[in-house]
Subunit: 223 residues, 2 copies
């Protein structure tokens, strides 16, 4: 999920008739990039970030299952839906176990495909309630942070966005570029992040956000 725009979708389908058809079908909801063989799909999958992938099982050069296995081996965790002419259960099992997240047999129903893609890309609206960050409680709605002692601090919009992004995945370390791309204007330079981190640390606590030298920032861990 890179922008507020449509989600990016990598479609790997070699059938010259079906490929563009599916692409057109999905275009209203996704930014579709069509790959016509397995190698191309693998390359695109590895070199660019995607929100979701739809991969045909039978692809030239390198078959779909191999592409998926290769992507997974490289640590790509993007949701993948396998599209296939083969409806046999055995094939489904193999595809899913190779690392696919869903499996749709051709001929498929456009509505079902769309629904399954929605299910794969759905991100649950973080429970609107307050999020606890260490000993603090952060309420995105009111953009305020309450300490264990009851002190209330209100944050500016950007400050809150940054904190929310970091808190969404406490275990993850975010690079400045990631945070920048997701929450600030693309013209901004990475240094902006430093400034806001400083603001948050001053307003809340030095330990809310942890620096990972040479990498980026992470929500401050307990202890």
């Amino acid at each position: 999920m890179t922008t507020a725009d449509r989600l990016s979708l990598l479609l790997a389908e070699d059938d010259p008739a079906l490929g563009p058809l599916i692409a057109e079908l999905l275009e209203p909801d996704y930014r579709v990039r069509l790959a016509v063989n397995g190698q191309e799909a693998l390359h695109l999958g590895l070199t660019q970030p995607w929100d979701v992938m739809v991969i045909d099982r039978g692809l030239p050069v390198m078959d779909g299952i191999s592409v998926i296995a290769a992507l997974r081996t490289k640590g790509i965790a993007t949701p993948i839906l396998v599209l296939t002419a083969l409806g046999a259960t055995n094939e489904k099992v193999r595809g899913l176990d190779a690392g696919a997240n869903d499996y749709v047999a051709k001929p498929f129903d456009a509505g079902e495909l769309a629904a399954r893609l929605r299910a794969l890309t759905r991100t649950f609206p973080s429970p609107a309630g307050p999020v606890s960050i260490g000993t603090w409680e952060f309420d995105p709605a009111s953009r305020s942070v309450r300490s264990a002692y009851g002190d209330l601090v209100t944050l500016a919009a950007k400050e809150a966005e940054l904190l929310e992004a970091l808190a969404a995945e406490p275990a993850r370390v975010f690079t400045r570029d990631e945070l920048l791309a997701a929450h600030f204007q693309s013209t901004d330079q990475p240094g902006v992040i430093d400034t806001y981190v400083h603001h948050l640390r001053r307003k809340i606590s030095r330990t809310v956000i942890r620096t990972v030298h040479g990498v980026g920032y992470q929500i401050g861990d307990a202890s």
Copy 2:
């Protein structure tokens, strides 16, 4: 994922014959709890943590789709697979959009159900996955080591690289040249390794890394 044990699975199925049958089918791989109506399923879903849920569409008291919607509203993000007698595409779409992650129509194939559940519960060996080293936990992503007592130590990039390399093959003894070639500039001299080993021993523990005299280093084994 609560323990190293089987995953916990909440099964909501009212058919007195089918429920226990499915439960038995899944028992080898999951700790199954059977709920026989929607209300019970909702209550269990809200009050206990589950690794995955299998919910029948048509449940007494409260239908499956409503249960899912209610769970999602409360912020429960557990993967849910809908099981149903209704194979109509329309029904599938509605189920998925209510918050289900997958949809299997009865009669279903046991192998496919199992594969789809595996796909739902699969956690990718995220490159960020913490590695346990003796009594410590090393998280390459945040480059931090946590002791059994909870103390957190952050490592510099090179320190982390070295530790990660050693931890990748605990049984193996690495020579300085191997480590050097893989993780440092080729111009560096073997002595660099010694320095970083010293850093790690000081930061974590004298016993993290074991010296094999005349050969190189190895991850400090339990002993």
